[in-house]
């Protein structure tokens, strides 16, 4: 036991050293674990057949139904980003709100929340907003600290506002943890679905957006010079209603359909993610068609979008199940009409693909979606080898004993876990922490009495804060990378501090009032 404990700790330390050397995280996790696995075999602490189960675990990830939503949401995000739909959203919102004092700040927070709900990719959101909004905000006389802090904080909303990709991964990890915990305490094995976590994150996410807005309003009132109202430049024509509907309304509609169908229990997250990806493709086609002089394609794609509404309306009105014995005439007609609408919808998808190809964005978008997906899943593959060896050494039992012996029961163990995750968040991103740390710490915490959904939301808020905390916060790195010259790093750090305060307030609020996270999931059931 002693030797195993030393080796488990040595493995953890070696992984951290390897990570700091800068080799890709996924491969470092797996490679270091394998070396320690071979040491364990030599010392007869781990058996070779145990290591040989590894390919079977990879197969398990390949067959994981929950995670199918990940590539689809990633594709939705990259398509919206590549086709400038995300960019238009920010432009329109900031021009609508520019006249109000502090309006650009509100626009950044609101668009950050919307982009979070549509793309969920922190790096992309922060970079997009930094490139578009930051120069304007600075030109209009915004305090650089306030401007950069607002952009970085709004960019991290992608983690907590559904349909966040990391919430899907977290749902899978927490659900497994909950099952292994309930076998130990002989409780009812409740699974935690992706829908549960999305519902659980919605209220805390929206409250957090409210906090951000209140902070900006307070700033505009108390320090008017920090957030002035913006003046439109001479050449800008006023927005037409059509522009507003297309650039603001269309993404809003897509988000509403995707989130609404998950939270309303109409579609599974995987099904909704397919709608999201298909819808994003249609929006991209509509957005890019005029530039390519493909007006006919644009009208056809609009018809395809309308087809989707026809399908939804028909299936709401009629029972079109083909498995019934005799189908009434009206339903037969509905089946034919919806079939036609489905065909138009798919042809519109291909028309959009053609528009994107013409704009040279189709293959690049799919390529970037494929590579982001590969990045996520290689971490899963590497982390599963790490967990395998770590458990081979009894590392999970060691962690469990440690968490049980922390004074203060659940609250003490929770505080320790949160602190460790917060520090790990400085050099690991959310995905790695979900795959490596959550499977180890979540079962003992659930055994100590933590509600799995509540625990997951606290972890998500905690990591979101970590990404915002200087000097290592990821969001700050992205902002630094995309910010114009003349923006001081120290200003970026100072600007983040008030938002870190708001985040901590939110964490304490959810900790004190678990209902914020657990009420909506329970209500949905």
């Amino acid at each position: 036991m002693e030797l195993e404990l030393i080796l488990a700790i040595a493995m953890f330390m070696s992984v951290i050293a390897g990570l700091l050397a800068g080799y890709p995280v996924a491969l470092t996790l797996g490679g270091v674990a394998l070396i320690f696995g071979l040491i364990g075999i030599q010392l007869e602490l781990i058996s070779l057949p145990f290591l040989r189960t590894y390919p079977g675990r990879i197969l398990g990830s390949m067959e994981n139904q929950t995670l199918i939503a990940v590539p689809l949401f990633v594709l939705m995000g990259v398509i919206l980003e590549r086709s400038k739909v995300a960019e238009d959203l920010l432009h329109t919102a900031s021009r609508l709100l520019a006249g109000i004092r502090g309006g650009l700040g509100y626009a950044v927070v609101i668009v950050g929340a919307l982009l979070a709900a549509s793309t969920g990719i922190v790096g992309a959101t922060v970079v997009t907003m930094t490139l578009i909004a930051l120069p304007t905000m600075l030109r209009q006389g915004y305090d650089p600290k306030l401007a950069t802090g607002t952009i970085a904080a709004s960019g991290t909303l992608g983690q907590i506002i559904p349909p966040s990709i990391v919430l899907i991964l977290l749902a899978d990890a927490i659900s497994n943890a909950n099952q292994s915990a309930s076998t130990k305490i002989a409780g009812g094995a409740g699974t935690v679905s992706v829908g549960d976590l999305f519902a659980g994150a919605l209220i805390p996410g929206l409250v957090l957006v409210g906090f951000y807005l209140l902070y900006l309003i307070a700033n505009a009132i108390l320090k008017p010079s920090s957030s002035p109202s913006a003046k439109l430049s001479e050449g800008d024509a006023p927005l037409t209603a059509l522009e507003i509907i297309l650039s603001l309304g269309a993404p809003l509609l897509l988000i509403f359909v995707v989130l609404g169908s998950i939270l309303g229990g109409i579609a599974s997250p995987t099904e909704a993610s397919a709608i999201g990806a298909g819808g994003a493709l249609l929006l991209a086609g509509i957005r890019l068609a005029p530039e390519q002089g493909m007006e006919a394609s644009r009208r056809f794609i609009l018809a395809g979008g309308a087809g989707l509404i026809v399908i939804a309306a028909l299936s709401w009105q009629f029972d079109m199940r083909l498995t019934r014995a005799d189908i009434p005439l009206a339903a037969q007609a509905a089946v034919a009409a919806s079939g036609l609408a489905i065909i138009v919808f798919f042809l519109a998808l291909f028309a959009s693909a053609r528009v994107l190809s013409r704009a040279r964005q189709f293959k690049p978008a799919l390529k970037s979606g494929t590579e982001v997906t590969s990045m996520v899943f290689l971490i899963l593959i590497g982390a599963s080898l790490f967990s395998l060896v770590f458990r081979g050494y009894g590392g999970d039992a060691i962690v469990e004993d440690m968490l049980r012996s922390v004074p203060g029961g659940l609250w003490g163990a929770l505080a320790l876990t949160m602190l460790v995750m917060f520090v790990l968040g400085f050099f690991l991103d959310f995905i790695e922490i979900v795959f490596v740390v959550v499977p180890i710490v979540a079962p003992p915490l659930i055994i100590l009495g933590a509600d799995p959904i509540w625990l997951a939301i606290l972890m998500a808020l905690n990591l979101q804060t970590s990404f915002l905390t200087p000097p290592f916060g990821f969001a700050l790195f992205y902002l630094r990378g995309a910010a114009p010259d003349g923006v001081e790093t120290l200003d970026i750090w100072r600007g983040a501090i008030p938002y870190i305060g708001l985040q901590i307030a939110m964490i304490l609020l959810v900790a004190a009032l678990p209902a914020l996270a657990t009420w909506l999931p329970a209500y949905m059931q």
Binding site: M62, S338, V372
Partner: protein, 219 residues
Amino acid sequence: MADFIPILGTTLRWIGVCLLPLGLLPIAILIAPKRFAGISRHLITRLDGLSGFALDIAIGFSFLIILVQLVVLFLSNVYGVAFSWLSDTVIFSFAGIFMLGAAATLRDEGHVRVDILRPRFSDAQRAIVELVGSLGFIWPIGLLILYGGAASLARSWAGLEPFNESDGLPFKYLFKTLIPAFAVLMMAQGLSQALKAARILRGLDEPPSPAATHTVGPA
């Protein structure tokens, strides 16, 4: 057919064993850079091309998964019918995206790294990290996957194992073959990365400019 499969498997294994010494080529470059300059450049082009070929298939799967998942959605939610072979196509595309795309993502610097000390390293230090990681991490993991999965894969091929349901796709053995394909692709790209690092260390190539590398952020 039944006789042919074990012969194919054994042949592939021996081809693999014969190719293993290629892992020494990066070290050979360190010892005699001039002698191996031409062959290593040729090999890098070929290996990067192999990853690119696999990436193109993965990209195809990424479009296919959108279309087929939508078909599944319409069929089940509108018409109340489900076909296992369609769901199998979705899961095949899903796994195909990352099992075939991971190697090219390595080539294109798409896998996340910890960027705390790395910016302060010299080009030579980075090349050493790359060389050690490729041969010390990727190759052992790849060999474990190939070795650990061989027996169950052989059984799957011997029975031409179909997907679980009776109306499922008839080739689960191809789905399971994605695992060794992933291992081989990663080892091939790992070799290519190691060769590039060794060439930089011996001054045969310039290190890539910082602008050419990017990291994918926390999602």
